[in-house]
């Protein structure tokens, strides 16, 4: 199963690189968001209740990472839906490999993509904002939360693709992704959000993932936010992977 999963992951990564029209937005769009937010909202750090940060860019980096990881999840879903539509999925199903390898291969590729996305935004932060302040432990925490969250979002994308079976439906979830992101603390401190967004953000796992990513960037590592972020990412990933595997089984049973 490991060999098959790795082979499928390699293929998925290679195809992502060969499909620049899909790959570029995974970094370009969050970067543009980041530039627009930093360019226009820097003074919001002076708002009463805004937590102390070394720079607004560093505060926003976690939001941009979370957004990029979410887009990576949508992209994984689109890739699976494309395979279903063009019949390649059938080729995988006919192959004598454990079915779960189809999902695991895709998620392994998503994990590598997530790692790349996290590194990219840390590099942006290092160049323009002074870089993460949490040191090696902070870096490891950011990578761990980012990669696990990326896997979680990828599994959600795969689940939707397996249920919907069409690219257009998976693409249709993109606006919803943004809505879910904006009712979290990804781009703005939870304490400064208005009700009901503040209440929704309190239950939104994206808030904890973004806060966990942010903590080692804006200051020295605090166990609380990092562990909460890690827990949110792991919990979401476990639930989403289980859902993806279940969806695959349901799909194969239904035919």
């Amino acid at each position: 199963m490991i060999r098959a999963s790795l082979a499928l992951a390699r293929r998925a990564l290679r195809n992502t690189a060969r499909r620049p029209q899909f790959a570029a937005p995974l970094l370009v769009m969050p970067t543009l968001f980041l530039a627009a937010n930093v360019g226009g909202l820097t003074r919001s750090t002076a708002l009463p209740g805004f937590p102390p940060v070394n720079s607004f860019l560093n505060f926003q980096l976690a939001g941009s990472m979370t957004q990029a990881l979410l887009l990576g999840g949508v992209s994984s879903g689109i890739a699976v839906a494309l395979e279903i539509e063009d019949g390649f999925f059938d080729r995988l199903v006919i192959s004598p490999i454990p079915r779960v390898a189809i999902v695991l291969g895709r998620l392994a590729a998503t994990a590598v993509l997530a790692f790349t996305q996290v590194l990219y935004f840390l590099l942006i932060g290092t160049i323009f904002g002074g870089g993460p302040e949490g040191g090696v432990i902070g870096f490891a925490a950011i990578v761990a939360i980012g990669v696990i969250a990326g896997i979680a979002f990828g599994a959600i994308g795969v689940t939707i693709a397996l249920r919907a079976r069409t690219v257009s439906t998976v693409q249709g979830i993109f606006p919803l992704v943004l809505v879910v992101l904006f009712v979290s603390s990804a781009f703005f401190p939870r304490g400064l959000l208005e009700v009901p967004a503040r209440q929704i953000a309190a239950f939104n796992p994206l808030s904890y993932i973004a806060d966990g990513l942010r903590n080692p960037i804006v200051g020295s590592v605090s166990a609380g936010p990092v562990l909460e972020g890690l827990a949110a990412a792991v919990g979401l990933a476990a639930a989403a992977i289980a859902l993806a595997v279940w969806s695959l089984r349901v799909r194969l049973r239904a035919v």
Partner: protein, 314 residues
């Protein structure tokens, strides 16, 4: 032991459509079995059940000695499949796809490259192996699909309309490969809507219509079953006496006057051996023959006789 055996195999879809209705098939090992029928007859649904992509809703099917419903993994290890729409990843190169397929079929890492090269050579794609599949022609894609299906040397090969949309040269190339596979002892289950393809390649044929097998046998036996060759004659002169000719030809079999074509047709149980006698009899009555054609029964005639409709152009 049969390579493929089905008993009352059925597939009913939600909404009540019965695509395959209790079909019984038996394909011997090493046989090329042609599965013939028009679009929507149930060919692809049957194949999808036999290759474990679709669950039967009734009956059972054994492929390479394993039940498709109870032991699908064992079936997958023994079969090769080239589906109707060559499901190839256009972003990958031919070599990458072949090597991925080899890995998925558990071929040892040390043998993956060699096996891939052998197959690419066999299907004539060595020069194009490092090009992305999206740049391949239809014929090249079909050949690559065939190579992928053969990567693990399957006991049973399913080819679902492998030549649909191909130019004549590509079609002939694929036919040659099917013949080579037969020579090597591979069982081939070939679905097609092309009569010529079925006639030339298949040892035996099953004709499916509206989900049911309506005829089965060798192409020659099926054609013989529905009748004899016909002799069609055209006569000299501007207004030949077709009725007089029909009267003479009645001595050889029940004649049929084709007025629009200005021809008379008569069945000839002995085929070409009786032609001279017919021409001589007509000549003795002063009816000069301008043209004649011995028309053998075709698989389309078989199909028409069994289903009441023609397959050609269906």
């Amino acid at each position: 032991m049969a390579a493929i055996e089905t008993e009352r195999l059925s597939r009913r879809f939600k909404g009540g459509l019965t695509a395959v209705d209790a079909i019984d098939l038996s394909v011997e090992a090493g046989e090329v079995y042609g599965f013939l029928g028009p679009n929507g007859a149930g060919k692809t649904t049957t194949v999808r059940m036999l290759v474990t992509l679709l669950r039967p809703t009734g009956g059972r099917a054994m492929v390479a000695g394993h039940d498709v419903a109870r032991d699908p993994d064992a079936v997958r290890r023994r079969i090769g499949v080239a589906l109707q729409e060559a499901a190839l990843d256009g972003l990958m190169t031919g070599r990458e796809l072949v090597e991925l397929q080899a890995t998925l079929h558990g071929i040892a890492p040390s043998a993956v490259r060699t096996r891939g090269q052998d197959l690419l050579e066999r299907v004539g794609l060595v020069e194009a192996q490092d090009r992305r599949v999206a740049t391949y022609s239809g014929g090249m894609k079909r050949r690559l699909d065939l190579a992928l299906a053969l990567i693990h040397e399957p006991a049973v090969l399913f080819l679902d309309e492998p030549t649909t949309g191909l130019d004549p040269v590509s079609r002939m190339t694929l036919w040659e490969e099917v013949r080579r596979l037969k020579d090597r002892g591979t069982t081939v289950f070939l679905t097609t809507q092309y009569l010529e393809e079925a006639d030339r390649l298949a040892d035996r044929l099953g004709i499916i219509s509206q989900g049911r097998i309506v005829a089965e046998g060798t192409p020659a036996a099926l054609k013989a079953e529905i009748g004899h060759p016909h002799l069609e004659l055209a006569f000299a002169g501007d207004a030949p006496d077709l009725d007089a000719a029909a009267t003479v030809m009645a001595a050889f079999g029940p004649p049929e006057v084709l007025r629009e074509l200005e021809k008379v047709r008569v069945p000839l149980p002995d085929g070409a051996a009786s032609i001279a006698a017919v021409v001589r009899a007509l000549d003795e009555k002063g009816l000069g023959v301008a043209a004649l054609e011995l028309v053998e029964p075709t698989l389309d005639d078989v199909f028409a006789a069994k289903t009441g409709r023609h397959l050609e152009g269906a």
